[in-house]
């Protein structure tokens, strides 16, 4: 009896899982999709494949780039299998780039492909590649130690933490592309010759690109929408530049009902002075604070109006409105109609808690 049972269990393993060894696999570390503009083959799919190496070091990360044009993304991947000698493994692919041209057209198909693949991690990073995904993927950052690692360090917050770099995860994009009163955004990543640059942001409606924010606006957006502290604000004070490093940040949004709703966005910024050639004493600190406050209020209100006029809602004011008033379908319709006329009121409070090591 016991022997029979043992044999039975051993037999289980004979059927085996079709497991391929690591040296028979290509690890895809990043994938890019571009629009070609052709009618029959609209997509150019680029894969960055890591080449396993025994040496690890700066600039030694080797990778292979494969690309193919195809009518659909899934077909492109299948076709690409014929271009290489090892099996693709998407298990480590955490970066998906979309060419600017594709984002300006439609994101429907790439998102659909991503949502159906079971081996695509929902914590992957998404970005728009400038000028196109193939260009960015074939670039070789000089200090990259492991293939594809520079992307993870840029977006993951493990390496550099920049207020200009907005991180967008795949699950968040899936949410934003469908949600009522909340619209998607994607950071733009480019290559400047030795490393990646991610300092701009694309705002999308439910389908495609609508508006691009410049680096300053991106920073302000990141600060006010994602509550990204470790950022900075600056203003002219007595004709000289005053720069504040933000150590703590809190934000509160409430929407006031009325003829046209008014969005109240309150920011509380606590930080220390990083640069100011005008000396700051306790008697003029309050003055400096109020100058910073007004500067942020003005810039942010301008940004909010610009975003509103483009008819996108990356902040999720619509959702916030529904949440605050426990809205129904009709409330959302009302919000949709009134959104182009919504007023914004930004109320910033800046607290300078230290002027650095000098006054």
């Amino acid at each position: 009896m016991r022997k029979a049972l043992l044999c039975f269990f051993l037999l289980v393993w004979i059927s085996g899982c079709e497991f391929k060894d690591i040296d028979k696999r290509f690890f895809v570390v990043a994938m890019g999709v571009d629009a070609t503009g052709k009618k029959d083959k609209p997509y150019l799919v680029t894969l960055r494949l890591a080449i396993p190496a025994s040496k690890v070091g700066e600039g030694l990360a080797e990778s292979q780039i494969e690309k193919v044009e195809s009518p659909s993304i899934a077909e492109a991947i299948r076709n690409l299998k014929a271009h290489v000698d090892k099996e693709f493994d998407f298990g480590h692919c955490r970066v998906f780039l979309f060419g600017e041209k594709l984002v300006a057209e439609s994101m429907d198909e790439p998102l659909n492909w991503l949502s159906r693949r079971r081996d695509v991690q929902l914590i992957s990073f998404l970005a728009v590649a400038a000028p196109n995904a193939f260009h960015v993927l074939s670039a070789n950052p000089t200090t990259e130690r492991l293939a594809g690692n520079a992307f993870f360090l840029t977006f993951g917050g493990e390496g550099t933490v920049s207020p200009y770099t907005v991180t967008e995860y795949l699950f968040d994009s899936f949410r934003r592309f469908k949600e009522k009163g909340l619209d998607p955004y994607l950071p733009i990543v480019g290559f400047d010759g030795d490393s990646y640059v991610a300092e701009r942001l694309v705002l999308l409606n439910k389908k495609k690109e609508i508006l691009t924010l410049d680096p300053e606006e991106t920073k302000l957006f990141n600060l006010s929408a994602n509550k990204f502290s470790r950022s900075g604000i600056a203003a002219d004070y007595k004709g000289r530049r005053l720069a504040l490093f933000i150590s703590r940040l809190s934000r509160d949004i409430s929407i006031e009902k009325g003829e046209v709703p008014i969005v109240h966005l309150r920011l509380k910024v606590t930080g220390m002075v990083e640069e100011s050639t005008a000396s700051l004493m306790s008697n003029n600190l309050a003055k400096a604070e109020s100058i910073l406050e007004q500067s942020v209020n003005k810039q942010l209100e301008a940004l909010l109006v610009k975003i509103r006029d483009a008819d996108v809602d990356p902040y999720g004011f619509g959702l916030r409105y529904l949440a605050q008033y426990f809205g129904s379908e009709q409330d959302y319709e009302y919000w949709r109609n009134v959104y182009p006329r919504v007023q914004f009121q930004v109320d910033t409070r800046v607290v300078i808690e230290s002027t650095g090591l000098v006054r």
Binding site: F9, V12, S15, C17, E18, F19, S115, R118, D119, Q121, L122, I123, G156, G157, E158, Y169, F171, D172, F174, R175, R176, F177, K178, E179, K180, L182, G316, L319, R320, L322, A323, Q324, F326, G327
Partner: protein, 370 residues
């Protein structure tokens, strides 16, 4: 046996709702009465569980089958117990073993033959569920101890995640005024069902046993019900949340451990559910085995060494049935069957409680006459 062993049942049943598609039914109705349905489920579940526990307290050391023998004719005892075994406890294990093995197959080894995968799960379940009740009870405590650090980490990670959108949660909870839908009441009250294991596990209780901290049952169930419904909405928003087939796996996959040795929380989640699912399957099949054995020869011992062969045969039959189940079922049909199961279970619980109340009434009458 202390009160805590009963609360282990409440704990793992509260978690296994994910494999029973409870989140799926709740989310589907999120704009059509899920919130109020859940509140009603909480009230009903609290009453069912606390009253049942109070009833069992009056019969320390006796399981439900023995009580039936005391107060009901034999044919009715056998009918009720076989009905419970074959149509409530056994299918519960089959539904969970199928959905769990399909979930892991999807994410761990998609190329594997589904039956091989099921065989591994069923092998473990057969072995565990065919032990004596005492052994099964010990396994609970061990598994809970092993799983809880990961579980607590996972829950903290989920609730305090910056990716959670509290506006979406608040928006959906605003739909509390919609009239409740019945399936959400049935599905929501499932989270309390851990107390149903008392049907067999009450045999452990000594004379004079009282439950301590019985408020734990509604607190656990309320907590897990809120988590199972609101966390996926917080991660996927109010619209996209209904797109996912493997809803909770995808929710776990939306969390990151930057400095963990694997950065996908998904694998932690699947690890937790390996333990919890096996625990649930072991239990349901074990209860089914004991109910069947009592129907055959009034077997009602908690310890038995060596374990009778019949345990193994019934467990193997249950495993065989789960293979047949897999052969004829797909994910959609499994959802349908679990819906039917959740609803019948809801009525079963009420009927079982009424029977228990009848026993208590009988006992009190006997006590007053003698």
């Amino acid at each position: 046996m202390g009160s805590r062993h009963t609360y282990y049942h409440v704990l793992y049943v509260g978690m296994i709702n994910i494999m029973m598609f409870v989140p799926y039914f709740l989310i589907k109705e999120r704009f059509h009465g899920a919130v109020l349905g859940m509140l009603i489920a909480l009230a009903i579940g609290t009453i069912l569980s606390l009253v049942s526990m109070a009833c069992y307290e009056r019969f320390p050391g006796l399981g439900f089958p023995e009580l039936c023998d005391l107060y009901l004719p034999r044919w009715l005892t056998v009918t009720i117990n076989l009905y419970g075994a074959l149509l409530t406890w056994l299918p519960a294990g089959a539904i969970v073993i199928y959905s769990y093995s399909e979930t892991v197959r999807m994410f761990f080894y998609p190329e594997m033959n589904p039956f091989v995968n099921l065989l591994l799960m069923a092998g473990a379940a057969v072995w565990a569920s065919s032990r004596s009740t005492r052994t099964v009870q010990f396994v609970h405590e061990m598994m809970i101890i092993i799983v809880s650090p990961l579980l607590i980490m996972f829950l903290m990670k989920a609730i305090f995640n910056p990716g959670m959108d509290w506006n979406a949660i608040r928006y959906v909870s605003g739909y509390v005024s919609k009239p409740p839908s019945f399936i959400t009441i049935a599905a929501g009250s499932f989270l309390f069902s851990g107390f149903m294991s008392l049907i067999v596990f009450n045999r452990f209780h000594q004379q004079g046993f009282r439950f301590r901290f019985r408020w734990i049952v509604p607190v656990f169930a309320t907590f897990f019900l809120a988590v199972t419904f609101f966390v996926p909405i917080g991660f996927h928003g109010t619209e996209a949340v209904e797109d996912y087939v493997y809803l909770w796996s995808m929710t776990a996959d939306s969390m990151i451990m930057e400095y963990g040795f694997i950065n996908r929380v998904l694998f932690v989640f699947l690890l937790i559910f390996t333990g919890v699912s096996l625990l649930f399957i072991m239990n349901t099949w074990h209860v089914a085995i004991l109910l069947i054995r009592h129907s055959i020869n009034r077997f009602a011992l908690v310890e038995e060494a060596p374990v009778s062969k019949i345990n193994l045969w019934i467990a193997l039959a249950a495993a065989g049935l789960s293979f047949v189940y897999m052969r004829f079922i797909n994910v959609d049909r499994n959802q349908m069957i679990s819906e039917v199961w959740l609803i019948t279970r809801f009525f079963n619980e009420i009927v079982f409680l009424l029977i228990m109340l009848y026993f208590v009434w009988k006992k009190r009458k006997e006590g007053s006459t003698s």
